[in-house]
């Protein structure tokens, strides 16, 4: 892909790296012995995973009565976590697909880990789809599979069925996209391999990559096609997730603003999560030259924009609740802000609407510590957003006789911890065994070898005309 880089732009890769430096810097994590930091971090995530797995097992064994749900609040942490993880998963696709189509070259050094994060986040989300079911062993009934019951289909009217399609499509496409991007880098590792095992495994997964011009051309086409397929998914997945709520009759859920609001929220939280992970990775793996302050700043700008969109959505909801004149709708919103769960609402407002506004200051959005802290704050806020939507709408709906409170048990918390364990265990495995930065694509945006190249080409093509 040709690209035009303005000569006055900051270099995307700093430190005067050569192509071979890039290969060496990225591959050394894969080829070398695991570092002490990695071992500690991996051990901790394994412990968290094991504890979470116990809690999840107990939940499945006993029934979801071990959670704090009741006859009024039928979803709480389960679906909150599900939506939260799906939302986080959005950044990967956005970065790899949309930014690819928009030729945002700065994405090259972060898209790999963002995509990995997407996949792991979607897996975490999927674990809650299974966990929240009363009879998870029958989960396959939600798929339109042939069966022995005659013409028994799934209910195509149900948003949960749409969810099944949306999430499974999203997972497959993301996985494919991620894996396709990995192939040239896997081949690089294969070619550098010194041990038989490594040669075999990386050879197997690099699908016989030769690096010929033709393969590269196919690679580029493939990326474009997959990006084209993924782009609508960025909008569709969270739109459909939002319809779980929007198509219902429950005040606070029954809202047409949900699709755009959820998509914005998803990108918001996804970027924040990418930010969190990258800030750690760049320090741990010493990738400061690849993931530069400019990357951080760009990400923070996206966070501010999407955070503001989300903030406007919150205010719009309130306005519409009042403007509609619907008693239940207005009560649902007044109750959110002033009812027994007021603290969750104001937590959400502070974290999601107020805190990203700090990024208007350049000093703040280029400050690593503050960026790291705020990226976590944003995801806390986004978790509370889903909690507020789900629990505060359900706990006081139409008939006051059924109004109830929800409070989590240790298994609500434990199953949430499970998803963190799963996520980080997978992420650390990824960080150790796969190149965290797309070497091939990073090389394509480097100025190192011939910083004058773009200018020359420009001149030449002019003179040819």
């Amino acid at each position: 892909m040709s690209h035009v880089v303005s000569p006055i732009r900051e270099h995307l890769v700093t430190g005067g790296k050569s192509y071979s430096d890039v290969t060496h810097d990225i591959c050394k994590q894969v080829e070398g012995e695991p570092t002490k930091e990695w071992k500690i971090a991996f051990a901790i995530s394994c412990v968290i995973f094991a504890y979470g797995a116990y809690c999840l097992f107990y939940t499945w064994w006993q029934g979801i009565g071990v959670w704090g749900l009741n006859k009024t609040v039928g979803w709480a942490w389960d679906i909150t976590n599900f939506v939260w993880w799906v939302g986080i998963g959005h950044a990967g696709t956005l970065i790899s697909a949309v930014l690819l189509l928009f030729r945002q070259k700065w994405r090259t050094s972060i898209n790999r880990s963002a995509e990995a994060m997407t996949i792991f986040a979607v897996l975490c989300a999927a674990s809650f789809i299974l966990a929240h079911m009363g009879r998870p062993w029958l989960a396959h009934w939600a798929l339109p599979l042939p069966n022995a019951f005659g013409s028994l289909w799934v209910n195509f009217n149900s948003p949960l069925v749409w969810d099944v399609f949306a999430i499974s499509t999203y997972l497959s496409v993301s996985l494919l996209f991620w894996y396709m991007g990995l192939v040239p880098d896997l081949a690089t590792i294969r070619d550098r391999a010194t041990t038989k095992g490594r040669k075999f495994w990386y050879g197997l997964f690099s699908l016989g990559w030769t690096g010929s011009a033709k393969t590269w051309a196919r690679y580029e086409y493939m990326s474009l096609i997959l990006a084209g397929i993924s782009t609508p998914l960025v909008l569709s997945v969270h739109t459909i997730v939002s319809m779980d709520f929007a198509t219902s009759v429950i005040p606070g859920w029954h809202t047409t603003i949900f699709p755009p609001y959820f998509v914005a929220g998803a990108i918001f939280s996804g970027f924040a999560m990418v930010q969190t992970l990258l800030l750690i990775t760049r320090v741990v793996f010493k990738l400061e030259d690849y993931i530069t302050i400019e990357h951080i700043e760009m990400m923070n700008i996206v966070v501010t924009v999407t955070g503001s969109v989300v903030g406007i959505a919150y205010l719009t909801e309130f306005f519409i609740a009042w403007y509609s004149g619907v008693e239940y709708e207005s009560y649902a919103f007044i109750n959110r802000a002033t009812g027994p769960y007021w603290w969750a609402y104001w937590m959400m407002m502070t974290c999601n609407v107020i805190s990203p506004q700090l990024f208007w200051f350049k000093s703040i959005r280029t400050n690593l510590m503050v960026s790291f802290f705020l990226s976590i704050v944003v995801n806390v806020g986004m978790w509370f957003e889903r909690f507020v939507i789900i629990v505060t709408s359900l706990h006081r709906d139409y008939l006051p006789s059924s109004w109830a409170m929800f409070s989590p048990t240790m298994y609500d918390i434990g199953d949430y911890i499970f998803s963190f364990g799963l996520f980080f265990t997978l992420f650390f495995l990824f960080a150790k065994f796969l190149p965290v930065v797309n070497m091939a694509e990073v090389k394509s945006v480097m100025k190192g070898v011939s910083s004058n190249f773009p200018k020359k080409v420009a001149k030449k093509s002019k003179s040819e005309e």
């Binding site: 009741n70 006859k71 009934w141 939600a142 779980d244 198509t247 009759v249 009560y331 139409y398 109830a404």
Partner: protein, 1015 residues
């Protein structure tokens, strides 16, 4: 050999050179089956088995055997080798019988399946109970399968057999009788005339025997005031009803009977010819009772004022009628003057009832009734009711005698005074002094465990008996199952001990034929079939002679406008006196007003709570009358200030696993006033906080309706007469074509119901909130009991619930204020169950089509298909769906009736027991609808309206629920809806347009119109 003439042949075929023999002569093995044989299906045509077929069969056999080995554990069933004549598998048999428990009475029909009684329903042939059943009568079928009853006779706590017990007991009893030792039979009210005859026989054999009768919740005062009888009361004829603390719709004397009568006076119609008048009901009371919650006007008084209120009412009525007034301390109480005016205005159709057990108060009330012409109209002294025959004086005498060692032998005939008498502890301690003690109680309860002999009586569903609830009204009890344990009817025991060898069944029949039926055996069979007999009421307008001045003087002495904290003891609608406390259905029964279950509690009003610095759930120590108990506080709007109320029926120590340790025993708080047991302590009551907290299991925790007119609609009679739509809230939506009813706009196409369209109408005006339907639904639909903690977790499984809302004083805009109930609120009860929406929100969201719409308008749940996403429950605007959070059957954490083989015998085989992880909800008793349709189909006809009855509607004492086919223009529901469609009928939260198949009829209160603070 070649030339030999002899010729040997192997068979006749060879001899005759049969062509087929010649053909096969070289085929050594004859006609072997071959693979190419065209008759390949030899397995079918029976020509022999081919090798391949053999292998196939072998393979299939091995596979089948090994597959069979993988199946779930084999459960053995016992086939009917000789099928009992009347038992058809899957077909229910119904037997008429009678539920009696102490003085409680209901004529019932018992449904048995394959020999097991599984459901109790009201017998509509009964002129007394008229098909109405209380929650306890409904639940009694589960008490039959109580595993913690005594399994057979015991002597000294060790199992024995009946012969041995009889031998020993009769020997000892005869010895005591011989030396003139005093013998006592202690029982609660006995409704059975034949049992009384048996006891008389026993008494004749042992002449020193005296029969002491007491009631746990006594109405002795009422009986004293009427010269030893309790008169019949008919609320249906009343235009003005004044109740002084009588919870006649909930617990007082015969609540289900009264509720039906009361409801007759509350039924109104919106149509042109619809009834436009109602009784006016005033209630003066301490606690907010179920009856008070249904009253038009209600004010609270303290127990110490009860007598004063009675006197003040008498005086007010006397002033208006010109009769002499009596001296009395003045008492300030709202609505008393108005009540007196109305009583006098509707003279001859007025009634005053009092729940007080003080004979003096009852005398004044009787005098008031005489002034307003109640006798002969609403009260009939010509027909005595027998529900309460207890004599408080005799009982306390008895306990004193036992303490003094004057009694040599006591038989406790199904009575548990150690638990349920205020002097129980004293009796318990003194029993050791009695030479011979025996109890016929069904378990080794508080009293039974102190007796030397236990001769457990059989359950009423295993017994023969009769009952005479009112003079001249009889009914029969017949066994519906043979005895489960080695129990024996107490009547048989008494007959044996009296030396009469007739069995009680025969004895009963003979007694009926000779004294009641006075005709041949056909009449006996008819009576047994119908369950009831007789019932010609004579009306007497005689009123008891009352010396009002004397009574008033006694009242003045005993009552005063006290300012101290006082204690009221009351009975709960669900658990009653606690005799069936080990019944998990009753323990999980949400009390109509407080919505609490699995506990009793100290209920206090909000101002008193504020004064004492207490809040709901604080554990307090309540001490009075020498007794001290610790229990949590429940803040009860409407209760008199400076009072604390505790219910009886709890605090059982030896009733069984469901009851033991639940709540505290409040019987010891009952005090003696004017010779009778009165449930109040007016002096020396202290309530102190212990600093601990204990959650109360309530099925509803938000008390007010938040001014949501679309949920509860109500009006007052004056407005209703002018315009039947007066209190109605009809949501309208502004469209491009002008204003339209919200229900006229829809995205959906609707459903075609070409056959039936089942529906239900619930009249909020006649629903008293008694919740009998809740237990009926539990029994019919195998609803799991989940226990105290799960109710606290808000996970009770009841398909039918009664929402109870208090009014609030706040303005509509004041959302926080609306959450607070008034100090003396108006109350409304709203039964809530699956509304069977035509545009059901649950149906669209289920991913697997586990909940779908039937072609007859039912929203149906397919348990097997459910994967448990709970989306349907979330999307249900009525929150009537119930999720199986755990496996509630055969699980030790839920050690109730579903956790033992015996308890599971009550399961209705027509309804699936739901497994963990699936959603469930009201099915509108689809199994009954189906049964009714099939019965009609077999007879090649349409189901007749009323033929199919669903469990809740069947059990309703006030017929507040009408069920039927809305496609049948002649059905009761269609007629009712036609009348009320432009009147009281509405759907709850109509504007979301889910189009429920259940309609509610607006509540009408007979009050003066006033500015409503609660819109």
């Amino acid at each position: 050999m070649e030339n030999s003439n002899k010729r040997y042949w192997k068979g006749i075929e060879e001899l005759t050179n049969d062509p087929s023999f010649v053909k096969n002569i070289h085929n050594e093995f004859g006609n072997m089956p071959s693979e190419n044989d065209s008759k390949g299906d030899s397995l079918v045509d029976g020509t022999g088995t081919h090798r391949r077929d053999f292998l196939k069969v072998l393979g299939f056999g091995v596979a089948a055997v090994s597959l069979a080995a993988c199946e779930a554990p084999v459960k053995n069933t016992i086939p009917y080798l000789n099928k009992p004549e009347d038992v058809e598998p899957t077909i229910a048999n119904w037997y008429a019988s009678t539920f009696t428990d102490g003085g409680e009475y209901a004529s019932v029909l018992v449904k048995t399946r394959e020999g097991r009684p599984i459901k109790i329903e009201g017998n509509k042939l009964s002129p007394v109970s008229k098909g109405a059943l209380s929650a306890r009568a409904q639940a009694s079928v589960l008490s039959l399968y109580d595993n913690e009853k005594l399994k057979g006779p015991q002597a000294g706590g060790k199992a024995t057999d009946w012969v041995q017990l009889d031998k020993e007991f009769v020997a000892k009893l005869s010895a005591i009788a011989a030396k003139g030792g005093q013998i006592r039979i202690v029982s609660n009210t006995i409704l059975s005339p034949t049992t009384k005859k048996v006891i008389a026989e026993f008494t004749a054999k042992y002449p020193t025997t005296q029969h002491v009768v007491y009631d746990a919740n006594s109405a002795y005062g009422l009986s004293v005031a009427h010269g030893g009888i309790i008169p019949s009361i008919d609320f249906s004829k009343a235009k003005t009803i004044v109740s002084l603390g009588a919870d006649f719709l909930g617990t007082w004397v015969a609540p289900t009977e009264f509720a039906g009568q009361w409801a007759e006076t509350r039924r109104v119609g919106s149509g042109k010819d619809g009834k436009k008048e109602m009784s006016r009901h005033y209630q003066f009371e301490t606690i907010l009772s179920n009856t008070g919650a249904n009253a038009d006007y209600r004010s609270a008084y303290k127990p110490s004022q009860e007598g004063l209120v009675a006197v003040a009412l008498y005086n007010a009525v006397a002033k208006l009628t010109g009769a002499a007034t009596v001296a009395g301390t003045s008492v300030k109480i709202d609505h008393l003057e108005a009540a007196a005016k109305d009583l006098v205005k509707s003279k001859g159709a007025s009634i005053v009832v009092s729940g007080s057990n003080d004979p003096q108060v009852q005398k004044i009330v009787a005098a008031t009734n005489a002034l307003v012409g109640a006798y002969g109209a609403t009260i009939n002294t010509g027909v005595a009711v027998n529900y309460r025959q207890g004599n408080d004086m005799a009982m306390s005498n008895f306990i004193n005698e036992v303490s003094a060692g004057k009694v040599s032998a006591v038989i406790f005939y199904n009575a548990n005074p150690v638990y349920n008498h205020p002097m129980g502890a004293k009796l318990g301690a003194a029993l050791a002094k009695v030479e011979l003690t025996l109890s016929t109680n069904d378990r080794a309860d508080e009293t039974g465990s102190l007796c030397q002999y236990n001769a457990p009586d059989s359950h009423y569903l295993e017994s023969w008996n009769d009952a005479e609830p009112k003079t001249g009204f009889y009914s029969l009890v017949q066994p519906t199952i043979s005895t489960i344990f080695k129990t024996r009817q107490a009547q048989d025991s008494f007959l044996t001990w009296a030396g009469n060898t007739t069995d009680y069944a025969t004895y009963l029949e003979r007694n009926w034929e000779s004294t009641i039926l006075k005709s041949g055996s056909l009449a006996w069979k008819t009576a047994l079939h119908d369950g009831v007999f007789g019932g010609n009421a004579t009306v007497s307008s005689a009123s008891p002679a009352v010396n009002t001045a004397e009574a008033a003087a006694a009242i003045s002495k005993a009552y005063s406008n006290g300012s101290d904290l006082e204690l009221a003891v009351y009975e709960k609608v669900g658990l009653g006196t606690g005799s069936q406390a080990n019944n998990p259905w009753l323990q999980e029964f949400p009390e109509p007003v407080s919505k609490a279950c699995w506990d009793n509690y100290a209920s206090i009003s909000q101002p008193t709570a504020t004064k004492l610095n207490l809040k709901q759930g604080d554990v307090v120590k309540v001490s009075a009358n020498g007794t001290e108990v610790s229990l949590p506080v429940l803040v009860q709007p409407g209760q008199a200030n400076d009072t604390v109320a505790i219910s009886i029926g709890y605090g059982r120590a030896k009733a069984g696993k469901s009851a033991n340790g639940v709540g505290v025993n409040a019987y010891p708080f009952i005090t003696e006033v004017n010779g009778a047991c009165v449930g109040a302590c007016t002096k020396g009551v202290s309530v102190t906080s212990t600093g601990e907290e204990k959650a109360i299991a309530q099925t509803q925790t938000h008390n007010t309706v938040m001014a949501r007119q679309a949920v509860v609609q109500e009006t007052v009679l004056g407005e209703f007469v002018k315009n039947p739509m007066s209190g109605r809230f009809v949501p309208e939506v502004l469209t491009s074509e002008g204003k339209k009813k919200a229900t006229d706009l829809s995205l959906w196409n609707g459903h075609d119901y070409n056959n039936h369209a089942w529906g239900m109408v619930i009249d909020l005006n006649t629903c008293t909130g008694c919740s009998a339907c809740v237990v009926s639904c539990n029994a019919e639909n195998n609803i799991a009991v989940v226990g105290r903690q799960e109710v606290i977790n808000r996970r009770e499984m009841h398909w039918m619930r009664i929402d109870r809302y208090y009014s609030s004083d706040a303005e509509v805009e004041d959302l926080k204020g609306l959450e607070v109930a008034s100090d003396n609120p108006e109350v409304v009860f709203q039964p809530m169950l699956c509304q069977h929406c035509n545009n059901a929100p649950c149906e669209t969201v289920c991913p697997v089509l586990a909940t779908t719409h039937s072609s007859e308008g039912l929203n149906q749940m397919t348990y097997n298909r459910c994967i448990g996403t709970r989306y349907c429950a979330n999307n249900c605007p009525y929150k009537v769906r119930r999720f199986n959070w755990f496996r509630y059957f055969q699980t030790d954490e839920y050690d109730f009736n579903f956790n033992n083989d015996l308890g599971r015998m009550v399961i209705n085989p027509d309804v699936t027991v739901r497994s963990r992880g699936v959603m469930e909800k009201c099915s509108m008793c689809v199994q009954r609808i189906q049964e009714g349709k099939l019965a009609a189909k077999k007879e090649k006809r349409r189901p007749i309206d009323g033929e199919i009855e669903i469990a809740c509607a069947q059990s309703c004492p006030t017929n507040a629920i009408t069920f039927g086919d809305m496609n049948d223009p002649k059905s009761a529901i269609s007629v009712l809806l036609a009348e009320e469609r432009e009147g009281r009928a509405y759907g709850v939260i109509e504007e979301i347009n889910v189009k429920p198949n259940i309609s509610y009829l607006m509540k009408v209160r007979n009050k003066e119109a006033k500015k409503h603070s609660e819109a």
